[in-house]
């Protein structure tokens, strides 16, 4: 009897061991399969980086060797594309941000610099001698980067496993390989140009703030005064933000029990941000009513001549976009966005950063070409619906005075911008319908 129990127990135990072993083994197999797939993705990205850097080196050297604008322009566009591909692959590798930041910055800036030069070429401007020198220096950096990355590639093509060597905190071998590479090679030249990632764009000048400097106390009373007769019952100082703008931050207690958040600039005392959220379930206000509420707030906060250019609705909240308007000219860069709850008409948000960056006393009033001339430069395939004058922001920090010509063709809407001084077509945008509303691209 006892023997039998022992035997049964033994059988059961053996069975359990077999089942557990099968589960364990299949888990190991599954984990290995996953690890292998991940390794393959990493290696694919790594080899993409290697081959792209090799290509970049060749293209940069060709650029310094050719005398043909056509070839230059083709090479520049290819360099720009290749830099984008490379940074994409690079960012998919298991390397920490600190380790990869300089290499990523080199590639992004090289790409942007190539792009700007390509645009200049297509506008009939030559590559300046300074820029040619810069491309030579960039080529030298690229050669060093190429050598280091190819050395690393030899290590990896041996019996190296990226997954096993990638760990966050001790940074793993893979990251440290990259880190030493970055230290060696990358004596990157600083580039002087106006384009994406350039210093002038990153540290762009703030033009729209008056000169007076406010104390926190003054900012508080200013805010109290401008928000009186609203739902705001109490303004509480909440410290200072010292980023691109220096602001005093406040919590606003509302009579609804909510707390909103506001920032007032230290220089000039502009109400820069108000941020609040609550769910809005019904619509009782029309868009036109929301526009009036938003424009009234602008006046109350001390912003004159702000006109609504369009309204977007999202979850029963109207985002009213106000821009500065003077003498029937619309200044798109001087933008303020105001969020209005469409149930009660309560203001839920205010954002004046673009205005603070861009608004100056500049005046564009006299176009040098006539409306008729502007219209005649529009593609004959388009039907013109409406024309008005507008200052538009152009890549990178530039502004252009234009005729904004609303057109349509085959049921699609376009905006064509014709330079009001030179008559050159500066920009064409198309309205794209999405199920959230329309976008222009």
């Amino acid at each position: 009897m006892k023997m039998r129990i022992n035997r049964t127990l033994f059988l059961l135990m053996s069975l359990a061991i077999v089942v557990l072993s099968v589960i364990a083994v299949s888990n190991i197999i599954r984990r290995n399969t996953l690890a292998t797939s991940l390794e393959n993705v990493y290696e694919q990205n790594f080899y993409d980086v290697v081959s792209n850097v090799n290509d970049l080196e060749v293209k940069l050297s060709k650029l310094t060797a050719t005398n043909s604008d056509t070839i230059k322009s083709r090479l520049l566009i290819e360099i720009w594309n290749q830099c984008n591909f490379t940074t994409n692959s690079l960012s998919a590798l298991p390397i920490s941000h600190q380790t990869v930041a300089d290499t990523s910055a080199f590639l992004n800036k090289l790409g942007a610099f190539a792009y700007i030069n390509a645009i200049n070429l297509s506008n009939g401007e030559d590559i300046t001698s300074e820029n040619t020198t810069q491309f030579n220096t960039l080529h030298t950096s690229c050669v060093t980067l190429q050598k280091d990355i190819n050395d690393l590639s030899e290590v990896i093509s041996g019996n190296y496993n990226i997954v096993n060597n990638a760990k966050k905190n001790n940074l793993g071998d893979f990251s440290s390989n990259f880190s030493s590479m970055q230290k060696n090679s990358v004596n990157y030249p600083s580039l002087i140009y106006d384009g994406p990632f350039s210093d002038s764009v990153i540290n762009k000048e703030i033009k729209g703030l008056p000169d007076n400097i406010l104390t926190a106390e003054e900012a508080k009373s200013l805010l109290e005064e401008k928000t009186k007769d609203t739902r705001i019952t109490k303004v509480v100082y909440n410290g200072k933000t010292e980023g691109k703008f220096t602001t005093y931050d406040f919590n606003l207690k509302l009579n609804t029990g909510h707390t909103a958040y506001a920032q007032v600039t230290e220089k000039g005392g502009l109400v820069l941000t108000i941020s609040n959220y609550r769910a809005v379930d019904t619509i009782t206000k029309t868009e036109d009513e929301c526009i009036i509420i938003a424009e009234d707030f602008a006046t109350k906060f001390g912003f004159e001549n702000m006109k609504s250019v369009w309204v977007m609705q999202n979850n029963n909240i109207a985002y009213v976009n106000l821009v500065y308007t003077e003498n029937d000219v619309i200044y798109y860069p001087d933008l303020i966005v105001v969020k209005i709850a469409m149930d009660t008409g309560e203001m839920l948000g205010w954002e004046a950063m673009s205005y603070a960056y861009n608004h100056t006393g500049r005046i564009y009033s006299e176009p040098e070409i006539t409306e008729l001339q502007a219209k005649s430069s529009v593609s004959p395939l388009l039907t013109i619906d409406n024309v008005r004058l507008a200052v538009i922001p152009k890549e990178y920090l530039k502004e252009v005075f234009t005729y904004e010509i609303a057109c349509s063709k085959d049921g699609l809407s376009y905006f064509v911008y014709v330079n009001a001084i030179t008559g050159v077509e500066e920009e064409v945008l198309r309205v794209v319908d999405t199920n959230q509303g329309s976008l222009v691209q």
């Binding site: 998919a92 959220y277 036109d288 950063m353 959230q436 329309s438």
Partner: protein, 207 residues
Amino acid sequence: MALVAFYGINRRQYDLYAAPTTAETRVIQQRLKNWGYYTGSVDGIYGSKTKSAVISFQKKNGLVADGIVGTKTASAIGITLSASSSSSTATNSNLYLLARCIYAEARGEPYTGMVAVGAVVLNRVSNADFPNTISGVIYQPWAFTSVNDGQINLTPSQTAINAAQDAMNGWDPTYGCLFFYNPKTAQSQWIYSRKVVTTIGNHRFAL
């Protein structure tokens, strides 16, 4: 209206007014045709003919004659636009991804703190040291703990979606910050070397 694309340069996108769908446009065309404002075909395409029909309808009915079928014009024509009572599902994949990141990283934070996290992601997109797309920034290895531990896959709340929308519309309470961390849980020593710009809720925001 065209500002959208200009601000696309800054990698911020603006949605515009809710346009009628093809089906709604057909209804609009049919009614305007019945009432003699429209002579074209009922094809569901909101073209210039439809637009000028809408404009003359608006003029006749004392509405703002802008050719846009907004809430008022729609109700005068006798239809309700589906988009204006919009559902909560975000269809813009970037917006939704950003909302997921905000929800995973900052769901216990005040609303402004959620917008700020969204703004940090967008600031990274336009900074050379980081990847150039929203997905590139969010999925950069070890950039966000919520991506490592899978919390990024949680369904975002409506508040997070709104915060993402605000960040995309240009709200940035951090004015250009590239990093944020919770001083109670931050593990990296390196992060303390960054210049702190502001503190919102539990997060410090830094350059």
